[in-house]
């Protein structure tokens, strides 16, 4: 498994194929990250947070660089990661309500 997630593999992303599908994917992907109602920097920070949530090493490297190149600073990037962590942690914790409900149903 040690040959997973090598940095030099990231540029090969476009080679996954088939070409026709990859072209469609990247056309959509690039449109998603273009400046719109959200700035490019805001989108890069969202992507950085999601990258941590899905724990994709490729995405973390790529969007750390992108955030810097869009002018984000260390504090903003760290806060974005905390947002991801808060949602992950919160989503576990809020399931405690399910636990409580179930315990309530079973208990006298």
């Amino acid at each position: 498994m040690s040959d997973y997630y090598r940095s030099e593999d990231l540029p090969k992303f476009g080679n996954v194929g088939p070409d026709a599908l990859m072209e469609k994917f990247f056309a959509w992907y690039n449109a998603v990250f273009a400046e719109g109602a959200l700035t490019e920097r805001e989108k890069a920070l969202i992507a950085l947070a999601v990258a941590h949530s899905v724990q994709c090493p490729y995405c973390i490297d790529a969007y750390s660089t992108t955030c810097l190149e869009k002018g984000a600073n260390d504090e903003q990037m760290s806060e974005a990661v905390h947002v991801a962590a808060a949602i992950r942690g919160g989503s576990s914790l809020v399931h405690g309500v399910q636990m409580k409900n179930h315990v309530h149903r079973l208990s006298m």
Binding site: P11, T39, E40, T65, L68, E69, K70, G71, N73, D74
Partner: protein
């Protein structure tokens, strides 16, 4: 903080030939010349000379991590009065309107004020590439007023509007000193809206990545410097770090050289080629040798050998249209929005 220059540490990369050899061994899919050709410039040639960029020496009061000059307090290269007079003769012979004075910290040159006075007496525009902290040193306390009196445009380096990143690149305490000087410059009219006293800031990325888009960044900087420090300035220039000299040393020690060069190549922007600064700027070294740009100057790459190579032999007709001397570092000026001494190209 690098602490000292490559030269002082006798580092291998102090030798420009070693820098070029290192860049040359990186396997890039396309050469700079091939990319320039794809943009319709085969070969890349100079156009009409609009700016005479004079590097008066490599001495500096700072030792910044990313410095492409390897400037520092230990550097002794200083332009002679004779070479300065040769530069002034070129102004007398031509209609070149702008003189861009750089270094090192150009203000440290004992003839800096004389040179500025002579250029201004000829009615030409002067730009001073200033590191800001030099203006806080006791012997230079009256320099802001001198620059204002001569309406010199100040192009000042400041990596970021927060202290940590700025000091990481330029040394501990540089941010606080720079803010102090910016306040003084504002107080005498520099950087104020509508003022003739132009104050522009230059930011280089603090690391191995490309600069953000210039226009939105300028708005952010204006808001933050005003809000945090009450400082005003006119324009913000984003400049890409050149993979040479001390920045190349950083790339090497951090294991980023190949990645950075690939990043520059991937971000090659054919639309930036037309307005590259080497096409309209002639760079003069401290010893009078002519270069296509200040980066080539630091790599000991003078203008093409078939053309006049010293300011005393200046011949505008001969020099205009000369092929630009290129090497892999040139990708630094064509990446993304492009990069020049005046910031992003597009």
């Amino acid at each position: 903080m690098a602490g000292s220059t490559l030269r002082k540490r006798q580092a291998a990369l102090a030798d420009a030939r070693r820098q070029l050899a290192r860049l040359g061994e990186i396997p890039l899919a396309r050469s700079f010349d091939a990319c320039a050709e794809s943009a319709g410039h085969a070969p890349l040639r100079s156009a009409r000379i609009q700016v005479l960029q004079i590097n008066v020496g490599k001495r500096c009061n700072q030792v910044c991590h990313h410095c492409h000059v390897d400037a520092g307090p230990d550097r002794t290269e200083v332009m002679s009065r004779e070479v300065m007079e040769q530069c002034l003769r070129v102004l007398d012979q031509t209609d070149i309107q702008t003189v861009d004075i750089t270094g090192g910290a150009p203000e440290l040159h004992p003839d800096f004020r004389w040179l500025v006075g002579e250029v201004r007496a000829r009615g030409r525009h002067v730009m001073d590439r200033c590191n800001l902290t030099i203006l806080a040193l006791p012997n230079y306390a009256d320099l802001p007023e001198f620059l204002a009196e001569h309406e010199v445009e100040i192009v000042a380096s400041l990596p970021y509007y927060l202290a940590r990143r700025t000091d990481a690149q330029r040394g501990d305490g540089v941010f606080a000193g720079s803010i102090e000087v910016l306040r003084r410059l504002n107080a005498i009219g520099y950087g104020r809206a509508g003022s003739r006293l132009r104050l522009n800031l230059v930011t280089n990325p603090v690391g191995a990545f490309l600069p953000p888009k210039q226009a939105p960044l300028e708005l952010e900087w204006k808001r933050e410097l005003s809000r945090r420090h009450g400082i005003e300035f006119h324009s913000l220039y984003t400049i890409t770090n050149m993979p040479i000299s001390r920045f190349l040393e950083f790339l090497e020690t951090s294991g980023n050289t190949e990645l950075y060069m690939q990043r520059l190549l991937d971000a090659f922007n054919p639309n930036a080629v037309e307005a590259l600064m080497c096409r309209t700027t002639l760079s003069v070294g401290w010893d009078g040798v002519l270069y296509d740009c200040d980066f080539n100057q630091m790599l000991d790459l003078p203008v093409d050998a078939r053309f006049p190579r010293h300011i005393r032999d200046f011949d505008r007709a001969a020099l205009e249209g000369r092929p630009i001397v290129t090497a892999p570092h040139c990708f630094g000026c064509t990446a993304g929005a492009g990069s020049s001494c005046g910031g992003a190209i597009q």
